[in-house]
């Protein structure tokens, strides 16, 4: 029986542990074994914390016996390597932090551990979360479990691949422009990016502070609800984290689709969308409609501005956020610097990869005297326009639905020479970040054996509606249960 533990969702595993069908130690051993066997093919992990995981599992089993089990007691998960974890390597996918051991835990790491979760390891990612394919990682690209020649998406590609390949039932991720939702779509998993301010950013290495938000990648919306309930909530260490009550997300799942007003953005089905992907998404919308949802077309006239706006705002913030990596106090430091300037130039030149440098330079440029108004200020104004489009749409609909990404997973190496095409992969997801809205992706079909994701965006604090919609859809379809053959 314990042989199929890896196929179970978090919710199923929680029930099994509670019934005493198996122990946390058995579960963790099972998954550590799978990571051992399969990760060489995937490269989803930067660090596997086997010993710590077994210790934690043992403690969790003892806690359960003592009647002190938290809601995630003994349940396994993995953290994107962007979250600081005390005494464990935290690389952010960069040579800059190749040897960085964090002296503290991120708030979400602390909260999940507090609820009893057991961390199996830290997952690979695009360097400093800058990328949509996982190819910018210093530790090499992650492979898509559905086709090892394909990208799993990014930047939370390691988390998505680990969950899709059944190496872990759940993973944390971060989403600045689609970095949870796009890899979820490309790997057939469920990805949730909460409202900006819903989850603390403390201890999450910053890429673009006004856009970054922590979330989860799971194999069901019920699991996402379970984890969000633990992660969400006010944190006095993050000034942008909002003191807003945390509802019972699990309780919201059971409400039917009846009467749910679903907005369909007409611009989403323009030329940029792969035809078969579009068909899969339309089919999903039809399922929602057939089960009581009311579809309405909505207009997002400024949608085409979201990618250029994002590529001004995000680099601007990252150029400043990454200044602290200067070789002085932590991180990569060049050997034998001649002087201060040489220390800075070589430490950063050697420590950062090409995509990170490209964004730092873009960001430095748009904030420079004489360019600030034309770029940064203008982008902030356009950002308001995009947010207004959403606010107007949500006067008439409860949720906006469409494709998560324009195509299924693409081949590794296909887009690395063309950053603009790569950036366009996030065209449908970026708007939610610019407007601070919650977004989700849930599997809705396949194109040539590769998964396709249905994207849902809600109004501020609309996580319950998103989870309910996705969960109800998952009850009507089987896409989210599909497992890549080599990892069954």
């Amino acid at each position: 029986m314990s042989r199929d533990l890896h196929t179970q969702t978090l919710t199923e595993l929680a029930a099994g542990l509670e019934r005493g069908d198996f122990t946390s130690v058995e579960l963790i051993e099972n998954l550590l074994g799978r990571i051992d066997r399969h990760d060489a093919a995937l490269n989803a992990f930067v660090t596997v914390t086997a010993e710590r995981a077994l210790e934690a599992a043992k403690s969790a089993d003892e806690a359960r016996l003592a009647g002190k089990a938290g809601v995630l007691n003994g349940l396994p998960l993995v953290h994107k390597d962007i979250f600081c974890t005390r005494d464990v390597l935290t690389t952010c996918g960069s040579r800059m932090l190749e040897n960085f051991i964090s002296p503290y835990d991120a708030t979400i790491v602390e909260r999940l551990a507090g609820a009893g979760a057991v961390v199996l390891g830290k997952t690979n990612m695009d360097e400093f979360a800058m990328g949509s394919s996982n190819e910018t990682s210093y530790f090499g690209p992650v492979k898509n479990p559905w086709d090892l020649e394909c990208s799993p998406g990014g930047s939370s590609g390691g988390s998505a691949a680990a969950v899709a390949a059944r190496l872990a039932p759940a993973a944390t991720g971060t989403d600045t422009g689609g970095s949870i939702r796009q890899p979820a779509a490309l790997t057939g998993t469920v990805g949730l990016k909460p409202t900006y301010g819903r989850v603390s950013r403390y201890g999450m290495i910053a890429f673009a502070s006004s856009l970054d938000q922590a979330g989860v990648i799971t194999r069901s919306s019920a699991d996402a609800a379970l984890l969000l309930g633990v992660m969400a909530g006010f944190d006095e260490r993050d000034s942008t984290c909002i003191d807003h009550p945390v509802p019972d997300y699990t309780a919201a799942l059971s409400q039917s689709l009846e009467g749910l007003r679903v907005g369909v953005v007409k611009q989403h089905f323009d030329d940029g969308l792969d035809e078969q992907t579009g068909t899969a998404v339309r089919d999903a919308l039809a399922v929602l409609e057939a089960n009581g949802a009311v579809l309405t077309e909505v207009d997002m006239p400024n949608l085409d501005l979201s990618v250029p706006t994002y590529y001004v705002v995000a680099p601007a913030e990252c150029s400043s956020n990454l200044s602290r990596f200067d070789g002085v106090r932590f991180g990569h430091r060049a050997d034998n610097p001649e002087d201060l300037l040489d220390l800075y130039c070589r430490s950063r030149g050697e420590g950062f990869g090409a995509e990170v440098k490209r964004r730092i330079m873009t960001g430095t440029y748009v904030l420079s005297a004489g360019y600030y108004d034309a770029y940064y200020l203008k982008a902030q104004q356009v950002r308001h326009l995009i947010a207004d489009d959403f606010h107007k749409a949500f006067e008439n609909v409860d949720v906006i639905a469409g494709p998560t990404a324009p195509t299924p997973a693409f081949k590794l190496g296909d887009k690395t020479d063309d950053p603009i095409t790569m950036y366009l992969n996030d065209i449908y997801t970026i708007g939610a970040n610019l407007a601070g809205l919650p977004g989700m992706s849930t599997p809705c079909g396949f194109v040539d054996g590769l998964p396709v994701g249905l994207h849902l965006v809600g109004p501020h604090w609309g996580e319950e509606t998103l989870l309910r919609c996705a969960h109800q859809y998952e009850q009507l379809t089987d896409w989210h249960s599909a497992c890549p053959e080599d990892f069954s």
Binding site: V328, F330, Y376
Partner: protein
């Protein structure tokens, strides 16, 4: 200084706010700890950490804004000032740029002609201090001490309304007094909690357009500021008169050589790439908050000076000296309340004897070994003629040395004034008999000799005779 030239000065004063923890972290701000023992992960700019604003600094900045009759902004925004330096851990300083918390303030100084002059305060904004680079004691490298990193500063920027080094000092002293009155800064210049940069330029008198300015950095004593500004004024005038041109640059004052020298030119200046800090929300302040802060404001120096003149009949100048340091003014009022003596006498005593003794021993008034009650006890004895003002100085020295109260010392040393007319008369007679020559001269019209006779009587009595009575009796006897 050539009168053909008009000097234009603006000051940027950095006042360290007297909070117990830093502006964006919980680390202590105490001065003088071992290097790098008061810097937490937030101060060190570790990956993933975030700043959280210390509410106390908002209250302090609001107090300052109200004290200088400024607008306290309903919404102010923290911005990042980006530049690389080893003692700046994040690679940016969190400051305020376009929307500072305080704007459009003013205060009044007395100019060279004795007239009241308004000095505009452009703005005051909150920011974090950087750490310190230590260049001594390290071979081939520099040390970094990040204890000061994140210490809250209020940068107070004046309009270019100051016309001489003296005016600049007068303005700076006023600000110094205000921040200490408000209890928002200890104003300690040696420890760097109150320092200033000065923008200095000259222009031909009558010219509207401002001359090119230089910025003098890191001036940390009133004396050096005055010297640095005066040196810079001379340098600029000489340069222009010799056919040269002032270039816009930052200059450092060298107190040893008493000169300023170029640090960096405008071309070398950083582009700081300011933008709103996305990690911090705008600071929003409503009218109710401002009113609540206003109610906590102490009486400010200008108002207190006026009250001292009106209520106690003090000379304007003495009132000004007393209120310049809040603790001095408090000391004065406590003594006045406790003594029978006149307020002006109290002021004279504090400004003269007490301030002199404090100065000599390098003490602050809070550390005075003689309490307000003890001073009142001493002044009472002058008032009731137990001792003269002159003997009082001797008694005070003994009190300072810890020998007891005024009464105890007067008793122990037998300093009680002789007020018995017959006793004084006997001594007067003795002095007249012993100095027939001087008596003759006095009677011949040399009135000034009265001083000689008084001195002789005092000498005989060890200074204890009541001077008024001595005068009276002498005049009577000498006809």
């Amino acid at each position: 200084m050539s009168s053909a030239w008009e000097v234009v000065i603006g000051l940027e004063i950095h006042a360290q706010l007297a909070t117990s923890s830093k502006i964006f972290s919980g680390a202590s701000t105490a001065y003088g700890a071992e290097p790098n023992t008061q810097a937490c992960l937030v101060d060190l700019g570790y990956p993933g950490v975030l700043p959280v604003l210390n509410e106390e600094v908002v209250r302090m900045a609001t107090k300052f804004g109200l004290a200088v009759n400024a607008t306290v902004a309903p919404r102010s925004v923290f911005a990042r000032k980006n530049y690389f330096y080893p003692d700046l851990p994040k690679g940016y300083q969190i400051s305020q740029f376009e929307l500072p918390i305080v704007e459009h303030g003013e205060l009044f100084i007395t100019d060279a002609d004795g007239n009241e002059k308004r000095i505009g305060i452009t703005r005051a904004h909150l920011e974090e201090d950087a750490g310190k680079s230590v260049h001594e004691g390290f071979e081939q490298s520099s040390g970094i001490d990040l204890n000061r990193t994140g210490t809250p500063l209020l940068e107070i920027v004046s309009e270019p309304d100051l016309r001489s080094a003296k005016e600049a000092i007068a303005y700076m002293r006023k600000i110094h007094t205000i921040v200490r009155y408000l209890g928002i800064s200890d104003g300690n210049m040696q420890e760097g909690s109150f320092r200033c940069d000065a923008n200095v330029s000259v222009r031909p008198r009558g010219q509207e357009e401002l001359g090119t300015r230089s910025e003098l950095k890191n001036l940390n004593s009133f004396r050096f500021i005055e010297k640095a500004i005066n040196f810079e004024i001379e340098r600029q005038i000489e340069l222009i008169e010799d056919g040269g041109e002032v270039v816009q640059e930052t200059r450092l004052y060298d107190s040893v050589k008493d000169e300023t020298r170029s640090m960096r030119s405008k071309e070398e200046a950083n582009d700081y790439r300011y933008f709103p800090d996305p990690d911090l929300l705008p600071v929003e302040i409503d009218a109710a908050y401002i009113e609540a802060v206003r109610e906590t404001l102490p009486e400010l120096p200008a108002a207190r000076q006026q009250r001292f003149v009106a209520d106690y009949g003090l000379r304007e100048e003495d009132a000004g000296i007393l209120v310049a340091v809040r603790a001095f003014a408090d000391f004065f009022e406590e003594v006045v309340a406790a003594t029978q003596g006149k307020a002006q006498g109290v002021a004279n005593f504090i400004i003269g004897d007490l301030a002199g003794a404090l100065n000599r021993d390098g003490l602050d008034i809070e550390q005075s070994p003689v309490s307000t009650a003890a001073v009142a006890g001493l002044l009472d004895r002058i008032k009731d003629n137990t001792i003269s003002g002159k003997i009082a100085k001797e008694v005070f020295e003994a009190m300072w040395a810890g020998e007891g109260t005024a009464d105890e010392i007067i008793d122990a040393k037998g300093l009680k004034q002789i007020t018995d007319s017959s006793a004084i008369e006997a001594i007067v007679n003795k002095v007249i008999e012993a100095n027939p020559g001087q008596v003759a001269e006095y009677k011949a019209g040399k009135d000034k000799l009265i001083g000689f006779f008084v001195g002789q009587v005092m000498k005989e009595t060890g200074g204890k005779a009541n001077p008024g009575q001595v005068n009276q009796i002498l005049k009577q006897k000498l006809g």
